[in-house]
């Protein structure tokens, strides 16, 4: 399969434009940043180091060596509850598709990082707050199943508000479904790294995000189970500034490391290297996993 159009475009040099849309304000320090500069700095504020939430496509182009072959991209959600509040659920989905240029809250596929072939999943907060509905659950499940078949390590970037309300219990059940796939993958020798990015909460943090062999988090990312607002309402007091940050979780012993975005690719490559022995086929001959995915497997 040829390189996806978005990846080719993102690899090309950014074309400077003059309109105001090319400027973005840092939500942390208020500095106005020229977007191409921001992109060149991996969406990290050039003044204060604030890590912006990243589009899945930007994340993938920043991380992978060469090509990326998407799987499960054809899966789109139905409307199992027939949900309507102000607008219908299908309308919300349509709006987010247009806004984010994504078909759902996670992009999954095959790629390599630092020369190590991997299965890669990247969630995106721009699509319904990265919430997990049936399609996110199915894509993640397929990712682990395919990674198991091909004996590839799996890397998942999480960014999620939790389970998607508009798909009700079918959304909640994706926690069970993905857990079963992760467990089977790991029991079969699979090596799994998760990278928790801002924000990782609810049903995603309480399932595959916290089931990885090694858990990384991006600097300052908000990570937790209950949302900050819910806790504040429950206890009726303001929470400290650093509560539920990546650094807070590191201190409490809940994650392995906090990584700055600019160091992320190198760090992942090193961590993946430690797992190379684990990905050998059961015959013990040490045949490496395929370098690039076979074209016939690019569509589920």
């Amino acid at each position: 399969m040829p390189m996806p159009e978005w990846l080719r475009l993102r690899r090309a040099q950014p074309v400077p434009a003059e309109d105001a849309a090319q400027w973005t304000k840092c939500p942390k320090c208020g500095t106005m940043i020229y977007r191409p500069d921001l992109a060149a700095n991996l969406w990290v504020c050039t003044t204060c180091g604030h890590h912006f939430r990243m589009h899945a496509f930007d994340r993938i182009s920043m991380l992978v060596d060469g090509d990326f072959t998407e799987i499960g991209g054809e899966l789109v959600p139905g409307d199992p509850l027939g949900w309507t509040d102000k607008v219908s659920y299908p309308q919300k989905l349509q709006r987010d598709r247009e806004k984010s240029k994504l078909t759902e809250g996670v992009v999954c596929g095959f790629a390599s990082i630092g020369g190590v072939p991997i299965a890669l999943g990247v969630m995106d907060f721009n699509f319904r707050g990265g919430t997990m509905g049936t399609v996110v659950g199915e894509r993640i499940t397929q990712l682990f199943e395919r990674a198991r078949e091909r004996r590839l390590p799996c890397v998942v970037f999480t960014a999620s508000g939790g389970a998607r309300m508009e798909e009700g219990m079918l959304a909640l059940m994706q926690m069970a479904k993905t857990t079963l796939a992760v467990r089977r993958f790991q029991d079969d020798g699979g090596y799994y790294l998760s990278v928790l990015t801002d924000p990782t909460t609810g049903g995603v943090s309480a399932s595959f995000a916290f089931q990885a062999d090694v858990i990384l988090a991006e600097a300052k990312a908000a990570i937790g189970f209950a949302g900050r607002r819910v806790i504040e309402q429950t206890i009726r007091q303001k929470l400290p500034e650093n509560f539920q940050t990546a650094e807070f979780l590191l201190e409490k012993g809940a994650i392995d490391m906090v990584v700055e975005r600019k160091e992320l690719k190198d760090r992942l490559a090193r961590l993946l290297d430690y797992g190379r022995a684990a990905q050998r086929p059961a015959n013990g001959r040490g045949v490496a996993a395929p370098e690039s995915p076979a074209p016939s497997e690019t569509r589920a």
Binding site: M169, L180, F210, V230
Partner: protein
């Protein structure tokens, strides 16, 4: 305020009247049978009117009825129970009551969420909201059950996992994730019953099971109606609207293929006949265990995988 308790008031008054008339009739030679029959007919009519068709919001309140049988009532009805305590790291979480038990003569590991009945118990049980230690106790006991070859039986009743500072500090998300992870590969049968409220991940952490049973008026939802309303509209007061949309009743869940079996409740709800309801649930659990008992562990795990694999969008 519980809407079911409100609706029951008239019925309870009528019930009182009927029983008074009956005792009068027994003492006096006057024939009051006509009057009694009329009142009984009226009673039945009102009862059908109230409980025949209930809205999802009324179902939520039925699931939260103050007299509804709780987790410890099911534990108490087992033939034998030896409670096991603690997560071995931090403390014993009283929102989860668990231990070795005998159910209809069968050795099992029984695990129940308990909300507590009176104020003192409610505080002691943290209103049935488990902390990470609770889930870590579950993980430990599921491992022990698998080690000894004992089936796992869970009774789910929680509005959700505890959302406090301490729970976040001790990684609530990790505890739930690992509870699911443990249940995913436990090589013994697992039967979960939603007896009251199945609130979100905090309930699912005890319900990744081979068979999921639900009491007729239990509810099971992606978030509690209040939580969902807060998430969707920033307004917990719109809980009734959320309850209506979330599809959280036992009929809905059976239709989705998430619940495998619905256990009927007496007209008016489980609390109208607590002992009978508990007995019917234990009977259903026993039947489920009987059916799963003959399945080889590998096949059991394969079926468990497929059961959840097909929920939602297929490949």
């Amino acid at each position: 305020m519980n809407v079911i308790v409100e609706r029951e008031k008239g019925l309870l008054e009528l019930e009182q009247r009927i029983s008074e008339l009956k005792s009068q009739a027994a003492q006096q030679p006057v024939d009051m049978s006509g009057e009694i029959r009329a009142l009984e007919a009226k009673y039945a009519e009102i009862q059908r009117d109230i409980f025949g068709t209930m809205t999802p919001w009324q179902r939520v309140h039925m699931a939260r009825h103050p007299k509804r049988p709780l987790g410890s009532d099911y534990i108490g009805a087992l033939d034998q129970f030896d409670e096991l305590h603690g997560d071995r790291h931090f403390r014993d979480d009283h929102a989860i009551v668990a231990g070795f038990a005998k159910l209809r003569g069968r050795r099992v590991m029984a695990i129940a969420q308990d909300k507590g009945r009176d104020t003192k118990q409610k505080v002691f049980r943290n209103f049935g909201m488990p902390s990470p230690e609770g889930y870590r106790k579950v993980i430990r006991l599921v491992k022990l059950a698998a080690h000894l070859g004992l089936p796992v039986v869970t009774f789910v009743d929680t509005s959700g996992a505890d959302p406090g500072i301490g729970s976040e500090e001790r990684a609530q998300a990790e505890a739930i994730a690992q509870s699911l992870y443990e249940l995913a590969d436990a090589r013994v049968p697992i039967v979960a019953t939603i007896i009251g409220e199945g609130g979100s991940g905090g309930a699912l952490a005890l319900a990744l099971a081979d068979r999921v049973l639900m009491l007729e008026h239990a509810v099971y939802s992606v978030a509690s109606p209040e939580g969902a309303a807060a998430i969707l509209w920033g307004d917990a007061a719109r809980a009734e609207e959320a309850a209506t949309r979330l599809k959280l009743t036992s009929d809905d869940l059976l239709q989705f293929g998430i619940a495998d079996e619905v256990i009927p409740e007496p007209l008016g709800g489980a609390h109208r006949d607590p002992a009978g309801t508990v007995a019917r649930v234990l009977e259903a659990v026993d039947r489920a265990l009987e059916a799963l008992g003959s399945v080889a562990p590998e096949e059991l795990l394969e079926r468990r995988y497929r059961k959840f694999r097909r929920i939602g969008t297929g490949p």
